[in-house]
Subunit: 259 residues, 2 copies
């Protein structure tokens, strides 16, 4: 579901492109699964999209990017593949003054350390702290975006950061899960000190635009197709997806598929 925050940014930035979305709702969430399982599922999803003759693949999920991006690039050598981690890491390195960067993500993304690796490759002196925040995913899907439950959840996850002396505090926070932008105001409010916030959606949309432009792949004949493939219950996808897309998903744009 979270990939829809990336879809939304892509749709605004590239209105003339055809966008095809695949949400593996039957098997979500990926964030608590093991690496091999995530890789297998990502390959199945990519195969389904390649059948539909996509020209570029966005892996609009931090967990799948962390676990499967190199495998997907190797398996589809002629398809440009863009993940959400490198753009977010790059943006964090640009905005952080002190180099102390906090990454919030799923259990799998944080354990995998993909953000730390991507950030340190760009800025070797950075100090990266990662906190797994699995419940934020469930809160976003439940549509509980503010109020005491979200506040208490944020306070509990972020307690180790809030206890740091001022000189060790991060000055930049990466929302390293596509669900988390929905909770951005609540996460920001948990901090009594200012910090910059980076998410995957806008940064990835910009990377896609750059890649399409550089490769001469921009759509010459705009059709503005918006189509959503889902592996489970299209009705629930339309309802919950509305929170993430911040606009209604027309029933006729939905298609149920099996991976």
């Amino acid at each position: 579901m979270g990939g829809l925050t990336v879809f939304s940014a892509l749709s605004r930035r590239l209105p003339d492109e055809d966008l095809l979305y695949l949400g593996d709702t039957a098997r979500l969430p990926y964030g608590t699964k093991g690496q091999e399982t995530i890789i297998r599922y990502a390959l199945q999803a990519t195969e389904k999209l390649v059948e539909r003759r996509i020209k570029l693949l966005v892996v609009a999920c931090n967990t799948a990017t962390a676990a499967a991006l190199p495998v997907l690039e190797a398996a589809y050598a002629h398809l440009p593949v863009i993940g959400v981690i490198e753009p977010g890491a790059r943006a964090a390195c640009e905005v952080s003054r002190t180099g102390r960067i906090l990454v919030l993500g799923t259990e799998s993304t944080i354990r995998n350390q993909a953000y730390a690796r991507a950030i340190l490759a760009l800025r070797p002196q950075a100090r990266v702290t990662g906190i797994p925040c699995s419940l934020f995913v469930a809160l976003a899907e439940e549509g509980w975006l503010n109020g005491p439950v979200v506040e208490e959840t944020a306070a509990r996850y972020l307690a180790p950061i809030l206890a740091l002396p001022p000189e060790d505090r991060p000055d930049c926070i990466v929302l390293g899960c596509t669900h988390f932008p929905l909770l951005a105001p609540a996460i920001r409010a948990a901090f009594p000190f200012p910090l910059d916030m980076v998410d995957s959606a806008e940064t990835t949309a910009r990377a896609v635009q750059n890649r399409l432009t550089a490769s001469g792949l921009l759509n010459p004949a705009p059709r503005r197709l918006r189509r959503f493939l889902t592996t489970d219950a299209p009705d629930r996808f339309a309802r919950v997806g509305g929170y993430f897309l911040a606009e209604p998903i027309p029933r006729e744009s939905l298609e149920l598929v099996t991976l």
Copy 2:
């Protein structure tokens, strides 16, 4: 994961039986999926267990019981199949004096109305209210069993019940998801009035014992085998499963399988 609360009750009540557990961790949670997907997954899981020559199947998940029990019974006509809903409904009808029964479950179980149907079949005058509590699943898996997040979550889900006039209050609450017994103290504490609480674990274990005894299927040569099949990351299963089983899961009793 929640099925382990049922496993635990079975293990205590039937120590001399061989117990084989299958946790479809790669595709959990089932509670937010559609009916057809749940049925497909339940058939795949049952096939795997039938290959291992089980003598009785316990569907230790309220969501799967609500969606798939009749299909499983039809598909495996010679295999005794016991779900968790009928035993819980029966216990609720026995303990409730007023017949006002509150059922907490996943989104899928509540929408399916399986508890309401089972309760009304036994006690047609009952008044059944169902509340979907999806976040309780994520809280139980995160191991957050008490404290302000759980308290606020319970308060939010239960607000409509707490606002009822005394004469309309339930006197019995059914924990209609196998995850929820972990949160039983917190759920009980949310009510300023007393009520009885029924869960699926103990009631289902009793139903299994009765069925095995009545059918002459009790193990004549006790071996006390305990074996766990999981479809994803056995390490995570062992760690999170420990919360649910309330005892460690030895690594050598775990086996990774594909459905």
